[in-house]
Symmetry: C2
Subunit: 568 residues, 2 copies
């Protein structure tokens, strides 16, 4: 009996990964990763503009070919039954919103020699916040003229998103803006390219990227109307005219693999390619998302994904970045929240501050020995701003409770705790609006690597933390989309429900809350929330004069409960 | 013609220094330093109680002998005219409040074999804050029953001080408390020992230590009354009974050098020994303090000293730690303010956080290249609490404005700026109560070593920063007291005015404010003040939601004004 496989391609922030999966079992038989060669860890940066982060589209193409070939090789080594001829479908995910300026033929301006050295002609990576002023203007204008637009994206339009970035390009580099016929999300470009549908008249755009991030909603006829865009900036009307009036879910096809790409990748020509999506959404799929399950993709940032059947009466939830029909799965609302910095923050501490030149492993080993509250430290996880629930990039990280004994491990743990408090803030917002979180499934690089973090999350959120069985859920989700794209062909799946039950699962090992820790963290979370609101919400006032004192009281209580070393 | 010399002995936090000075010119002809061997940098610590800091009295005695002999040797090497026989007087300064529990013979309990391993039997170093609860209770009780006590110490009694520490000893180690006949300040013990007057019935206590820190004031008949102390804790009445009703200024004599100590130190027997004082006060004297001059002693902490003639009508100034007649100079009010952590904070960053294992020199070299506001960081200098103007040890350090590019040099500079904002807060408090600051003279280890810091202080305070000519002003001030103790004898000085004009001066090189920097720092100081009041003053409420945004706005403006590197 033949075995059948699907291919998932997952474009991350620093690298692209290919994963080949047995569609009947979810077994991952081959994988490979290619690092982007350009800039710093694949990012083109500007030291005078910490908000800027771009990528070269060529890195995506070179990485794609290299990692797919590597994954095929790896599968051939691991699985005697494997043959690339038995790959039945392809799925693709990318970071986002990562729009790329394109010419009228669907070719990135970065490939045009006139613009090869221009940062504005590159892919505008999700974490680029240079357009914070434009985002704020879009928010203000929409609040005034199109409040229903805002209601679907948590009441604040983000500088991480499509229109703000395009508008900022007009100011940053007008020549690039003028030369761009349209802008295409990275997640749409790759499936378009693989299926020969990359020219703007043919290109299908995914609802995952278009919904809320590009203000697309069937309720108002697709992308925002020309009058609204013109009121922001007349030049945006031209870009609007280049966009279609339809968007597609991952249950839809992008098309069939072209001969050209079949040759480049060593895959069967004509196999189905699914519509693309953002990595986090496919991470949710690869973690077996269902009603009541919160999937947390813990990486550089955190994405928090939930779904609810389209039959649900859903409220608009302030601060929640997006509630979009079919953005995650066909037939369901996708709800997307997230933290702008998680692994980023830990990496900053290890790689930029370089405390005692300790690595993550050494810091974790020391931080694990600490009790909750013992250091007296409290941090806020806003080094890259706050996505949910404040949707505000103009915030920054904070550490307080410092004394002259505060050591690297204590600070490291406080940073991890800060992200846990941020995570709890999101869960509380979901539940405050009636979206019950029955189960939390974690996936992503950090979930696999840092058990201390998961215990802290269990203690802070006072819920068990489950782990997705796969350590590469985004790529797995993409591969599942590839399997569903194959449909009723041999090796395909008819529905995502079927693919989820065949191809996903959670590990037996989970992390459960410890009551003593929960109690201490409840107190610290109260302080975090006070700071969160004081620094994050305009017009809020509160008496913060107990914050430092309460931290010291907690520290002293925790230390008193410990056996004391004897004098001298 | 004979040259005449005096000896100053300066007991610091980690070491003791002896300095031999030509009394007619202020020329420093010989010096030596002895490190205290015990504990960590001379401090006995307890990792579970970061507030605890004790010292072994034996370290003081061993260090005294060693550094005086070293200074004599050094003077003999440097100055052919020098002979120890021409030393005419001795002055002594120490940290404080650093009380030591003593038996009825004036011998420290630390020397009693029963207590040799007991932290409570040691010297309770100025920076020991274990008595924060007792300090708060003294403040509360005095506010209720003796508000005039509080008015002289800035309205808050500190955990750094005499009565709080003694009371805490009763709770920490009742046996030590019971065994102590009295408690003696380090600054009184050494002159007592040198002059054979260390037994409690003979010992003279200096007003510098007794005033405000031990609640001594001629206005209410000396130390606090027994009824008040009994209302705190009946056992304190016994300690009160061991104390005299008189305190002495540095214009007074402790006595004459005993034969025993003359032999131990290699000094002429019978020479006059001045009353001791705290290091900062003598630092003021050694910097040539006079009306309108603020002397800042920049070291582990900062002490800020001013004087005003006794004829002045002085208000009580909230938050100012002490306004005591003759605490600094005879015939003048001494006014003492200070910051609980300055060099301590920089050392924490270099020695505990150890960013990239960079030292002060390397961090300063990078931090110097930054413009004010360019990092977007803002810190609060409360790692060891706040002495002036909040007088609150239950505070902690804070850093905000962090992003994932925030590097060690940026953080280091932000910490220095934080101490500058703390310094400005003190100057503004002086001036708000009519004490005009005409001139700022800096001295102490950091002033001599860190030009960037002085420029930042000039910019933040918008005043020139002058530097004391001597790099060891505390020891110089002690030596000046030794010269005044010699009085009309050959080589002595009749008055401190005479000693100041003969023996002190400022360097020609000073640091002047740069208008662009002043403007940026004015904005940052406004934010610092908002945070200062929000976290430091009970019941204060303010809208902090612009703090992070203003920091980013300032950063962006500063960077826009800079030449930009070209794309890619």
């Amino acid at each position: 009996m033949n075995k059948w496989y699907s291919l998932g391609v997952d474009f991350g922030t620093s690298s692209v990964r290919a994963l080949i999966v047995d569609t009947s079992t979810g077994q991952e038989v081959g994988t490979a990763v290619s690092l982007y060669p350009s800039g710093k860890s694949g990012m083109l940066l500007d030291s005078n503009q910490p908000d800027l982060a771009r990528q070269h589209p060529q890195d995506y193409l070179d990485g794609l070919v290299s990692c797919v070939k590597g994954a095929i090789q790896d599968a051939q080594n691991n699985d005697v039954g494997f043959s690339p001829a038995n790959i039945v479908g392809i799925g693709v995910d990318t970071t986002g919103s990562t729009p790329i300026p394109m010419d009228a033929g669907g070719v990135p301006l970065a490939f045009d020699p006139r613009f090869e050295n221009r940062l504005a002609a590159m892919a505008w990576l999700w974490k680029d916040h240079t357009s914070f002023e434009e985002a704020a203007q879009i928010t203000a204008e929409a609040a005034d003229k199109r409040p229903h637009y805002l209601a679907k994206c948590g009441n604040v339009y983000s500088s991480e998103w499509f229109w703000a970035k395009i508008w900022h390009c007009l100011k940053e580099d007008p020549e690039v803006f003028q030369a761009a016929y349209t802008w295409v999300e990275h997640a749409d470009w790759i499936p378009g390219l693989l299926t020969g549908t990359e020219s703007p008249d043919k290109l299908r755009r995914c609802i995952c990227a278009a919904g809320h991030k590009a203000l697309f909603h069937h309720g108002w006829g697709g992308y925002p109307d020309v009058d609204f865009l013109t009121s922001l900036e007349p030049a945006l009307a031209r870009i609007r005219a280049s966009l279609p009036n339809r968007a597609f879910s991952i249950g839809d096809l992008a098309g069939e693999l072209t001969d050209e790409w079949s040759n480049k990748l060593g895959l069967p020509a004509g196999i189905n390619v699914a519509m693309g999506a953002f990595d986090a959404h496919f991470g949710g799929v690869g973690s077996g998302i269902q009603k009541g399950t919160l999937v947390k993709i813990l990486g550089t940032t955190t994405c928090d994904i939930m779904t609810a059947p389209l039959s649900t009466e859903l409220p608009d939830i302030p601060g929640l970045c997006g509630i979009v029909p079919e953005s995650v799965l066909p037939g369901a609302y996708g709800m997307e929240a997230g933290q702008s910095g998680v692994g980023d923050i830990f990496n900053w501490f290890v790689e930029v501050v370089r405390p005692d030149k300790l690595d993550h492993v050494a810091l974790t080993a020391e931080a694990e020995k600490l009790l909750p509250g013992q250091s007296g430290l409290l941090a806020i996880d806003w080094h890259s701003g706050n996505r949910t629930i404040l949707v505000d990039p103009r915030l920054s990280g904070l550490i307080l409770g410092l004394n002259t004994h505060s050591n690297p491990a204590q600070i490291y743990r406080a940073l991890i705790e800060a992200t846990a408090f941020g995570a709890r803030t999101i869960v509380e917002r979901f539940e405050a609006y009636g979206i019950k979180v029955d189960r939390v499934v974690n996936c992503g690089g950090i979930a696999a690597k840092n058990q201390m973090l998961l215990q802290i999350y269990a203690d802070v959120l006072n819920r068990p933390m489950f782990l997705s069985r796969s350590t590469q859920t985004c790529a797995l989700g993409s591969a599942m989309a590839g399997a569903v794209a194959a449909g009723r062909k041999a090796g395909g799946h008819d529905t995502f429900d079927e693919a989820i039950s065949a191809m996903t699962g959670v590990l037996d090992e989970a992390f459960y809350p410890v009551p003593e820790n929960v109690a201490v963290y409840d107190t610290l979370f109260g302080l975090y929330s006070q700071l969160h609101d004081a620094f994050g919400i305009a017009g809020s006032t509160s008496d913060l004069s107990r914050v430092m004192k309460t931290l010291l009281d907690v520290r002293d209580q925790v230390n008193k409960a410990q056996p004391q070393p004897k004098p001298l």
